[in-house]
Subunit: 244 residues, 2 copies
């Protein structure tokens, strides 16, 4: 994905270089690279940022510094302000997944978007938030909602990644080589024959229901072809065993 | 939500106390409290865990320590193993959102579930993973997938929280007090009357299309009742202005 199709992450007056580094790492984990810093407290470059970026140094090196939020978002057409607490501002408020869906659509149509994150302790001022179109609030435990900066960034970056990730939500245990029904039924019949010989089905009354129980548990196991062979080897070995 | 309805987070041979603390914080942010530690490298309690837990001390204090993974998951009926790289193990592989949906269902039906996370550097052994029912893999940037422990935990905890969170994905800018159409049309007509007087509609040909343009932009602004009044004040003030 080219850089032009990705939203910018804007850290507004970030305090610790370490958190800028962790933000870069969280961004790159989910494919974001456009990092913008507004008036970082300890200046820029900051020697604390590199080590905590842990391999995401190229995001740190490409970061751009601006004096004001207005300058940082000048090229953007739609801006989200991430806040934890309710600001009671007349703005739409969206969850990270909804923001990601909107941003995905906006970026696809050629809009440059940006997501603002406030300083570690205080968060953004109401004047910062007033520059945004939409407030992005991460729903958290109402009794304990202290998300740190890089954690807030990673949750948003993760939701953005999900909008274009094509990983199947569920991949079966055996993508290939699942046993055919002939193999599964072969195992059932082999087991039933040996159990009949060993006297397992003592009660004629319950024989049918017991057989169904066993057939269901074999069915539910979802064996691959190889595992059916292993199971048949087990049945064979156990039934060959001499009485002690 | 009572503890009994929440999955356990199991850290398998965690190395740094700081990461255990950050995990506790990530858990509590999204309402998880059942932390289990398997053979933590530096023993337990670990003085490094508390400070990085930042207010989630009660999760640290309630953490239980086990010698083996088998012991840690003894009361569970379904276990997920979180891995980054593909293990090529014959197990279903799910994304965090799919795992969260499954866990939500399992827990609701009274099952205790657990999610395993491996040691910081090496990840879990294949023997650890073999104890799990399902592999949970976070889809990440294929060129840079170095999620740290607490980040992996927070993404999974966040998805679990989403399964029972009732926050609307989109809340309008004005949950109450949106302007009625009578108020909106009143503003349109007021503005059109003043613009007619000021000679804005010079071209008779384009008058209708210009009026529609203005009506659409007022419509799209989504004013609340109060904002319509503010806009009418602005129109009144500007149209009262004397020529210089």
């Amino acid at each position: 994905m080219s850089k032009g199709f990705l939203p910018a992450i804007v850290l507004v007056r970030p305090q610790l270089g370490e958190n800028i580094g962790k933000t870069a790492r969280a961004m790159l984990n989910f494919g974001l690279t456009d990092l913008r810093l507004v008036a970082p407290r300890d200046g820029w470059p900051n020697p604390d940022a590199g080590p905590s970026a842990a391999g995401a140094g190229r995001v740190i090196e490409a970061a751009r510094v601006f004096e004001t939020v207005e300058q940082a978002i000048a090229d953007c057409t739609h801006v989200y302000a991430t806040t934890v607490r309710d600001r009671d501002m007349p703005k739409p408020v969206v969850t990270p997944s909804e923001a990601a869906a909107q941003i995905h659509g906006l970026q696809k149509m050629g809009n440059q978007t940006a997501i603002l994150f406030g300083p570690e302790r205080s968060g953004m001022t109401n004047d910062d938030v007033a520059l945004a179109d939409t407030v992005l609030t991460v729903p958290v435990n109402s009794e304990y909602g202290s998300l740190n900066l890089a954690q807030a960034v990673i949750l948003v970056a993760y939701e953005l990644f999900k909008t274009h990730d094509t990983t199947p939500v569920h991949q079966p245990a055996h993508p290939e080589g699942l046993a055919t029904k002939a193999e599964v039924v072969g195992l059932m019949e082999h087991l039933e024959a040996e159990l009949t010989k060993s006297g397992f089905f003592r009660s004629k009354d319950r024989q049918d229901s017991m057989r169904r129980t066993i057939r269901n548990l074999i069915q539910n196991a979802g064996f691959c072809s190889q595992e059916v062979q292993t199971m048949r080897g087990i049945v064979k070995s156990l039934s060959r065993r001499k009485p002690e």
